[in-house]
Amino acid sequence: MNSKETQYTRRSAGQWAVAWRRFKKNKAGLAGLAIVASFAVLAIYGLLLDPVPARSFGCLYQGCTNLPPFVDSAHPLGTENSGIDVWNEIIHGSAGDLYVGIGATLISVVIGLLVGAAAGYRSGVSGAVLLGLTQIFFVLPVLVIILLFAKIFLFLVAQGLALSLIVLTLGIFGWPLFAFIARGEILRIRELEFVQAAKSLGASGSRTLFRHIVPNLLSPIIVLSSLAVAANIITEVVISFLGFGDPTTSTWGLIIQEGFDHIDSSWWVAFFPGIAVVICVLGFNLLGDGLSDALNPRLRE
């Protein structure tokens, strides 16, 4: 078989349907989708219905602090030292962490696509500059810089905006990989025969972009986005755990930090939110792997 043929299949509406059919057969990918959907439901439930406000200390006055899990049906996963309900924090935390994970990824994707497209269309110097930039971001101990950033800027913004500041920071530091992939794909697709053919037939630049390049770019970007959300959630958890996050908004890292401070008396406060992190991140990772298998069939047999 011709090697170009195997590496490249033109995507059309039909092809997305084929990808979806392939995805439906992938149990791990479906499990990932189900997990992600469940957390989305949980987050919306917490935001809209808000049965118990986040970080509510109500229990403090009723003497139900430090309650172990599975003893009181009102507090299924127990309460922490100052009476905050662990299950309620997991619900509110999923809104916070999905906001950070997805929000930061969207920012990265937008910046990455713009920069990558610019570099892809003007190969040469700007391509080399972009390559250098991505390398810098690879080498940069991003987490350390983000921590430094968060520490200094959190003092300077209003408290309600602190979480958004973290979204922005993660987004700004996450774009280079997207730009790199976008540039590579654009360069590759531009050279393909049918795009060259479309051009020689007089197809306009923007038509080439939207009919041919965008659909082909989507699949690697979608896969990478799912994995980036997973990575961003872990980073957020680390930031909050270390006490560099927003102390007024519920996130999983924050409650884990509170649990870790009292680890010898109430293990459940750090344990259960951590389980939520693992399941949620696992969900995005499984989804990403499943999408990658469905969208790049040549990697499978």
Binding site: M1, N2, S3, K25, R300, E301
Partner: protein, 328 residues
């Protein structure tokens, strides 16, 4: 009585994929006379390469040889264990694969890879292996073999790499050489050189040769006998001269019409349609959806591979009545 070196009998090799069972080779039979060059011809996806890999016993997953017989000098290769097969692969049957750019390991020198094959088949000292490698490189007409040995594949040209792949296949003077589209990925001038080399080596070493190609022009130059494959089955078997003069299968005729010729003016006729999906192949004759001479029987009944005299075989219900045009 000419001796038969290889006889393939009703070979079936299927690929068990997620989408379904791909019947890549579905009942292929042919035989090869010792010391002769045979052409295996067909479009991509006709089962040429899978047939070759089946003979060598290296069908990649998820492929599997389902049934049939492969007799090599009287021994059925399908009954051999993996260990016994290694006494055939590379030792008695050499293989040159399609793309010289990817058939050599990029991380080892050419000399390393050649001496690895040499010592696999015959215990010998390092020094002896080195000399053998130099001889092999000379055999395939590579100048300055001592220098070339130390080169990595990426430091050599495509034609040079294909010569090295040929040298590797010849490492232990095999009785049979299978060359799978050996020139497809080379420049035209280099193509001619590599073909010339193969032809010369075949005569010099008195080897049997299976040349796999989709190019009838190469067949005309290189092969004495031709097996035409279509969608995993044999369409026609004949001597080269006869097949060009008077093809008996409509597919063969169509292949000949698609070959450009300089010596006369006639329209080139491409073959309409595509090679069929081998998960759900067409019923009856697999060529019927693309065949200009199709009748109802072609849809309902599989045509058997009939011997029609003079060593020719054809698998077509209408071979007697059709007047097909050859190329000469």
């Amino acid at each position: 009585m000419p001796e038969t070196v290889l006889q393939v009998d009703d070979l079936k090799t299927y690929f068990f994929t997620e989408a379904g069972v791909v019947r890549a080779v579905d009942g292929v039979s042919f035989s090869l006379t010792k010391g002769k060059p045979l052409g295996l011809v067909g479009e991509s996806g006709s089962g040429k390469t899978v047939t070759a890999l089946s003979v060598l016993g290296v069908v990649p997953r998820p492929g599997k040889i389902v049934s049939g017989k492969i007799l090599f000098e009287g021994e059925n290769l399908l009954e051999k264990t993996e260990n016994e097969m290694r006494g055939f692969r590379g030792k008695r049957i050499g293989y040159v694969s399609q793309d010289p750019n990817s058939s050599l390991d990029p991380l080892f020198t050419v000399g390393n890879q050649l001496s690895e094959v040499v010592t696999t088949h015959e215990k010998m000292s390092k020094e002896a292996a080195r000399e053998k490698v130099v001889d092999l490189l000379r055999l395939v007409r590579i100048a300055e073999p001592e220098t070339r040995m130390r080169a990595y594949p990426h430091e050599l040209s495509g034609g040079m790499r294909q010569r090295i792949a040929i040298a590797r296949a010849l490492a232990s003077e095999p009785d049979l050489l299978i060359a799978d589209e050996p020139t497809t990925n080379l420049d035209v001038t280099i193509q001619a050189q590599v073909l010339e080399l193969l032809r010369a080596l075949q005569r010099e070493l008195d080897m049997s040769l299976i040349l796999i190609t989709h190019d009838m022009g190469i067949i005309a130059e290189m092969a004495e006998e031709v097996v035409v494959l279509y969608a995993g089955r044999v369409a026609e078997v004949a001597r080269t001269a006869e097949i060009f003069a008077a093809p008996r299968h409509p597919y063969t005729a169509a292949l000949l019409q698609a070959v450009p010729r300089v010596d006369r003016k006639r329209p080139l006729v491409p073959i309409g349609g595509n090679i069929p999906n081998l998960i759900t192949p067409p019923s009856g004759c697999r060529f019927h959806p693309r065949c200009a001479y199709m009748i109802d029987r072609c849809v309902s009944e599989i045509p058997p591979l009939e011997a029609i005299g003079g060593g020719r075989e054809v698998s077509c219900h209408r071979w007697k009545e059709l007047e097909l045009r050859g190329s000469s």
